[in-house]
């Protein structure tokens, strides 16, 4: 399998993304944010070219697997089917344009010069890994990585409280949804008996329904469906490149992507369909209403994204081949026009100083390029020919009309109403930006700012002209999710069908509605559940502080007693299995002598009242134990024990210096508790050791180890060779623990010193 990994291009592309993150950070640090972004764009650019080439040549899907722990199914597994490649083109292609845009958006001295390019590329990497993943564990890891990197990106301006609240809210909801998704994936893996996505067959039964519900909820949090959409409008605090990338083309599509990919698995599952339609339809309609009422152009786009994602979730949950086909088409079209619109609004913001539709107007003359882009992208969003959005929206309308019965009454009608509202808010946005209105001063343009949006908007037009190429991308992807989708394709002009008639009515009705509400100030809707989310956001740190306060009370004796009690419970359960006939009293009488001393010292240790005395007695016990080791022929162990005892006793002498000479008196209850716990630990551990010694499992590997020690380790002390060579990695782990402890102690000491001095 490793060999396979080495020859696969997709593997190298993912790796190059990883290196790119480091290089981008370095370049940004040395030469400023623009250099960092330029370096960061290299890997996505190569990936785009690769994916487009593979799609065009219709190459067979390839699979790459890197096994970590095979027995636990912990593998990194990627595959390149048509859906994955289509998503790759979106993620990496739009990524390149966003990196280009960001170089113009940020001034050369912008903050976060090293952090921002690296984080943006890290996000792009996570997204790429997500869409290429073929194991649900791989998918989940990258899913969580997108949550974390997007948190960092939304919180770019980390000095602002508003921004940090928005970032935290996004993290809380998407990471919380990630946990729900994880449980769903666990159940699914249990039901199907595999973690490989391409091996999944259709599942049914109660467990499958539970998995369906959990996965759908997880997907809905990421794709900002009602009631989890709270975070998306807030995330608009992010810089424009981040919004254009994360909140249009990529991250919010992750949920849609997982619904699409797992759709075939849950085909015919009522829970899956009902939840998907509930999320999708409510988000589609409420999102559109929100977009219709907002004044801030960026928030209009955010709410419109909620609505469009709702449309995608609805189409993919219909369970029809036409729905899947329309969903994939709109997925592609939406990524193009929404990214372009975000960039235009960003440019308007930079050049006029405001994003409020009520304060803007007349930009058609003052910003002709941006205006053209806005019209082209907006028209594509509204589904007006001759643009890609029209062909895709036409497929959605067809998918809605083909339904019958209740499904048509609920989903079909909603899709059509949603389309009307989409045309309406697009009209309102365009009139607000371009139509007559307040005169605003416009700063001179920066051409680089416009180029990426021109490319994206033009892609909508070019895609319509070369619809055959788009079909070549969309149809295989749809077929992969539903084989019946092969009969469909996008049409430049569908002919005089009912669908076209409906589309034209939709556009007309939408424009009328848009004209009616244009330039009208309306109460801005609050996202459903916003207050609850904010309260939760406040409650989490308070709650965790409370719990930590209870658990970490800071009393050392209670910590010790707790640990000892837990140990005794584990040991006692084992000690109960002790059988007297297998116990050997002693091998030689000397042992009895040593043990007598040990017991006597231990008993004395309980009754001695002086702290120093207790420490010395403990040392005596330890030294006698090392004597027992010597009798058993373990000089290494004995030496170590002896040295540890020495250090501990000397340490006690030093440490006890600033404590009272005698133990303090303690209340009787506490004394009783300690006695019970001590007895339990003593009896339990002794019993457990007797059981363990009396029932050896397997043969001791000493012969093999001794041979390996001399031949491979070159040493005759087997113990030492085991520590430094055979199990060297274990030792490394152990000494790393010591290092961590040391650092902790030094840090505590420093805190203490600063407390003393202040």
């Amino acid at each position: 399998m490793d060999d396979l990994a080495l020859v696969s291009v997709s593997w190298w592309l993912l790796l190059s993304h990883g290196f790119g993150v480091v290089l981008a950070a370095l370049a940004g640090w040395r030469h400023g944010i623009r250099a960092g972004l330029t370096v960061a764009a290299a890997a996505p650019l190569a990936t785009t070219i690769w994916a487009v080439e593979r799609l065009a040549s219709g190459a067979e899907p390839e699979t790459v697997e890197l096994v970590w722990v095979g027995g636990l199914d912990l593998v990194l597994r990627f595959q390149t089917d048509a859906v994955a490649l289509l998503m790759t083109v979106l993620v990496s292609g739009i990524g390149v344009l966003v990196f280009a845009y960001a170089t113009a958006y940020f001034g050369p001295d912008a903050a976060g010069r090293s952090r921002f390019p690296a984080t943006l590329l890290a996000f792009s990497t996570s997204m790429l890994g997500l869409v290429l993943a073929d194991s649900i564990w791989t998918l989940f890891v990258f899913w969580e990585l997108t949550s974390i990197t997007s948190f960092l990106l939304v919180g770019y301006k980390s000095t602002s409280d508003v921004v940090m609240d928005a970032a935290r809210r996004a993290l809380m909801i998407t990471a919380g949804g990630g946990l729900v998704l994880l449980v769903g994936l666990l159940v699914l893996a249990d039901v199907t008996g595999t973690s490989v996505i391409s091996d999944f067959g259709a599942v049914d039964g109660a467990a499958a329904s539970i998995a369906a519900a959990l996965i759908m909820v997880g997907a809905a949090t990421k794709s900002a469906q009602i009631p989890f959409h709270v975070w998306l409008p807030g995330a608009m605090e992010a810089p424009t490149p981040v919004s254009a990338y994360l909140h249009s083309a990529t991250m919010v599509k992750a949920g849609v992507f997982i619904i699409a990919v797992l759709g075939p698995v849950f085909a015919g599952n009522d829970v899956w369909m009902a939840l998907g339609l509930a999320f999708g339809i409510s988000s589609m309609l409420w999102g559109a209403v929100g977009a219709l009422r907002h004044d801030d152009a960026k928030l209009i786009l955010a709410w419109s994204t909620v609505s469009q994602l709702g449309l995608l979730v609805t189409l993919l949950s219909l369970g029809t081949a036409k729905g899947v086909f329309a969903g994939i088409s709109i997925l592609l079209a939406h990524a193009l026009f929404k990214a372009a619109l975000f960039i235009v609004v960003g440019e308007v913001d930079v050049r006029t100083g405001t994003r409020k539709v009520s304060e803007l107007g007349g930009l058609a003359r003052k910003m002709p390029i941006a205006a053209a882009v806005a019209v082209a992208a907006g028209a594509s969003m509204a589904g007006v020919p001759p643009l890609l959005g029209f062909a895709a929206k036409e497929a959605a309308v067809e998918a809605a009309l083909e339904l019958d019965g209740t499904l048509f009454a609920v989903a079909g009608v909603s899709v059509i109403v949603g389309a009307v509202l989409t045309v309406a808010y697009t009209t309102r946005l365009l009139i607000g930006l371009l139509g007559p209105g307040p005169d605003v001063a416009v700063a001179p343009s920066r051409p680089l700012l416009a180029i990426p949006s021109v490319v994206l908007a033009a892609a909508g037009l070019v895609g319509y002209v070369f619809l055959g190429q788009i079909n070549a991308m969309v149809v295989p992807a749809a077929v992969e999710l539903d084989t019946k989708a092969e009969v469909y394709e996008l049409y430049r002009w569908p002919g005089l069908t009912v669908g076209l008639a409906v589309s034209l009515i939709v556009i007309a009705a939408g424009i009328v509605l848009g004209l009616v509400v244009a330039r009208r100030t309306m109460a801005v809707p609050k996202p459903v559940g916003a207050d609850f989310a904010d309260r939760l956001l406040d409650a989490i740190p308070i709650g965790s502080r409370m719990i930590i306060g209870r658990i970490q009370h800071g009393s050392l004796p209670i910590y010790l007693a707790t640990m000892a009690a837990v140990v005794s419970l584990a040991a006692l359960s084992m000690a109960l299995r002790v059988s007297s006939d297998r116990i050997v009293v002693w091998d030689e009488p000397t042992q009895a002598l040593l043990v007598a001393v040990i017991v006597a010292a231990a008993v004395a240790g309980v009754f001695v009242g002086s702290r120093l005395g207790a420490a010395l007695i403990l040392g005596a016990v330890g030294i006698c134990v090392s004597g027992v080791y010597i009798l058993h022929g373990a000089p290494d162990l004995a030496l170590t024990q002896l040295l540890v005892e020495t250090v501990v006793v000397v340490g006690f002498v030093l440490g006890l210096g600033h404590l009272a000479r005698r133990f303090p008196d303690s209340p009787d209850t506490w004394r009783t508790i300690r006695m019970v716990v001590s007895l339990a630990v003593g009896v339990g551990v002794a019993g457990a050791l007797a059981v363990a010694g009396a029932q050896p499992v397997g043969r001791p590997p000493i012969g093999e180890l001794a041979r390996a020690a001399v031949e491979e380790g070159g040493g005759e002390n087997v113990v030492n060779v085991i520590l430094t060579d055979v199990r060297g990695l274990d030792t490394l782990g152990e000494i790393t623990v010591l290092v961590v402890v040391s650092i902790g102690i030094v840090a505590l000491a420093n805190v203490r010193r600063s407390e003393v001095t202040t």
Partner: protein, 147 residues
């Protein structure tokens, strides 16, 4: 804390230091074929340090540096063979002729043992430092201040 530190304590600690260190070094080198090793050596060095701190001959210092050196050395020994195309912790053994000692055989286990010893010493120093910070040890600085 020993309030009235006797000159005897100080002098005997100072006297004991060189032979104790020698024992530690012996354990470090002997470890590969006889009882001993990095951990044992580190403990001996640690015990010496505690005694010297106790006798106020020395102050615990540079825990972080010692620990950092140890961890870097350990990781270097671990991954060096892998970088050279082998597996982690692949043992490299060589023999060299040293003028006085004659033929000396050594492997990469030795630097690893040294790293382990350094980390153990670092931990002891950190502990002593922690005690000093919480007022367990009189530091030289405070002694001068008192007088």
């Amino acid at each position: 804390m020993i309030r009235h530190l006797s000159p005897m304590t100080r002098i005997s600690v100072k006297l004991v230091t060189p032979p104790a260190l020698l024992v530690g070094v012996y354990l470090l080198f002997a470890g590969h074929n006889n009882p001993g090793g990095g951990f044992a050596a580190g403990l001996v060095f640690g015990a010496v340090l505690i005694l010297r701190t106790l006798a106020e001959v020395q102050e615990p210092r540079h825990a972080r540096e010692i620990v950092a050196f140890g961890l870097f050395a350990a990781v270097a020994v671990a991954i060096a063979p892998a970088l050279a195309g082998g597996v982690l912790f692949d043992q490299v053994i060589g023999e060299i002729e040293v003028p006085v000692l004659g033929k000396v055989k050594g492997g990469t286990a030795l630097p690893f043992d040294i790293a382990v010893a350094a980390i153990v010493v670092g931990l002891v120093v950190a502990l002593l430092d922690g005690l000093a910070a919480s007022g367990g040890i009189r530091s030289h600085h405070r002694l001068e201040h008192d007088e």
